[in-house]
Symmetry: C2
Subunit: 322 residues, 2 copies
């Protein structure tokens, strides 16, 4: 936001930040116990959180579920734990996977079709995909994971945005599935990205490896407490999913009226196609609206959801003057 | 604490937990901004914290100062970043350094004299030492760092407990010193171990390496905000140092009266020598007092400070009935 303000000093305030896929309506921030602040995070609090997460995500056991200080920490860790020569990524997608595997020395290739992933040492599937929302159904993912495992490969499924897609969209209940590792994000759905919390769900051996590599006291006491409370609150998630879906539809309508064509997304962000995304990015920014453009996709813009009623009204008003 | 309760079910409640070296009087927990919870930690907030930390610690520049989610994360990281065959540790000391270097494949030796460290690829000095408080003055550390650098070695100084020792006890103002890396803990002094925050201060190149390895969004938004506020509050630290020192003296008196002989420590914990530490550990535990014993030091017990006036009174009363 600071950069946007500097680049577009004449844009009206307040800026409307639609550049992320983080839920703008966060889980109500609880008042935390003093112990969460003052004490080293205790092993049994980690186990309690992992047990709640396992239940919330439908994992068969807490032993398969590993808490981490954010999904990014896991994305950075996996190339160290599971060295691979050739890594295939179903693209176009979130760039951090490729960055981290390349940094670890792997040859990373982006493929266009799910079936092309099978021949790699490690394959990565962001599901639903960021930014276009492409969703690969569970049976197809399982078939791929099995085929890869048969060849000694490993499939990583980044389900950062699956929480709010629909009930039953996740692969987690079908684990352990040889070689499949699912990543789940806490911060996006619950709108608490500053807390740093995420999970890996994997087979027993891989989960134990990941847990050991995470190290001592990796997840903060604050994340343990707020994460346990939020993940245990199924009613909040259910209402949030419904409200995000109807808000996504509402945003689609506004974008369509502004002349932008919807081409996908998830309930947490919409993807639109334009003649010239750079031009539209500027147009948005000059109106004090920050969206996400992609260097390698000159026609795409990703637009997140506004937050409260005032921000919706402001967005609607500014979109009419674009 | 949970384990202690299970092991000593007849101990009186409430337990007095003196098993850590964490300040029992924490920095006043501020009410954090919503953005610290909801947004991904921003690069400029990290830079702001590093700048405040550099100033608080007396570092020559913020570029030398790297924020991390706790010192433990740094202790786990260093063996990956600076591979070494032979690692020397001035002992007896905090065990995590040896554990992490051994896990990375190094041969780790514990030495008894500072001068013995010079011949190692990497040497580790906990200063002041945990648990005995042995303090190596700055000129001696600098001489060692120079001698090691001349042989291509690297000296790591874990200053986890230096904040409250005395003004000028830290090596940080003398950095960069070729090959020297200083670790500083936030959670112990400020009593906020659940927040996960620590720092490495090193030469420009090493600091850049550590910063890159820490990865994206490694420090939570909550840690960035509370850390910036607390480290900027010099008056709190000054008063805390004075009060911890007088409390350490008070605790020494109580332990002496109970028949325990003081043999060192820092203002955050006292080390006592006994005929039989296991026996005394039990005696303490049966009185609902948890202290720290050491497997390899059968005569030592480390005793942390109690917190508020009620806990002091309770401790005093229970010590008389041991």
């Amino acid at each position: 936001m600071l950069l946007a303000r500097q680049a577009y000093p004449k844009a009206p305030e307040p800026w409307i930040d639609l550049s992320t896929g983080i839920n703008p309506i966060c889980y109500p921030i609880p008042s935390l116990s003093a112990a969460s602040w003052t004490r080293l995070p205790e092993e049994n609090a980690v186990l309690a959180l992992e047990s709640i997460a396992a239940s919330a995500y439908g994992a068969r056991s807490a032993a398969l579920t590993v808490a981490a200080p954010g999904t990014q920490a896991l994305i950075e860790l996996l190339p160290r734990l599971f060295p691979a020569k050739r890594v295939g990524i179903l693209g176009f997608t979130y760039s951090e996977h490729a960055i981290c595997w390349r940094r670890a020395g792997a040859v990373v290739e982006t493929v266009a079709h799910l079936a092309d992933l099978v021949s790699y040492d490690v394959a990565i599937l962001v599901n639903p995909n960021n930014p276009d929302g492409r969703y690969v159904p569970v049976p197809d993912v399982l078939t791929l994971a099995e085929a890869m495992a048969a060849r000694g490969g490993r499939l990583i499924i980044d389900e950062a945005f699956v929480d709010v897609l629909f009930e039953g969209a996740s692969l987690v209940p079908y684990l352990p599935e040889a070689g499949a590792i699912v990543l789940r994000s806490f911060g996006k759905t619950y709108g608490l990205a500053g807390v740093r919390l995420g999970f890996a769900i994997a087979g027993l051996e891989d989960a134990a490896l990941i847990r050991a590599a995470m190290g001592l006291w990796a997840v903060s006491g604050l994340a343990l407490e707020v994460g346990s409370q939020a993940l245990d609150d199924r009613e909040w998630l259910k209402q949030t999913r419904e409200s995000l879906i109807s808000n996504a539809v509402r945003l689609d309508g506004l974008l369509r009226k502004a002349g932008l064509k919807g081409v996908g997304g998830t309930p947490l962000y919409r993807l639109v196609s334009t003649d010239d995304a750079a031009l539209w990015f500027n147009r948005f920014a000059e109106a004090g609206i920050l969206v996400r453009a992609f260097r390698d996709k000159p026609q795409w813009l990703r637009v997140g959801l506004p937050g409260d009623a005032d921000e919706w009204a402001l967005l609607e008003q500014r979109l009419t003057t674009l």
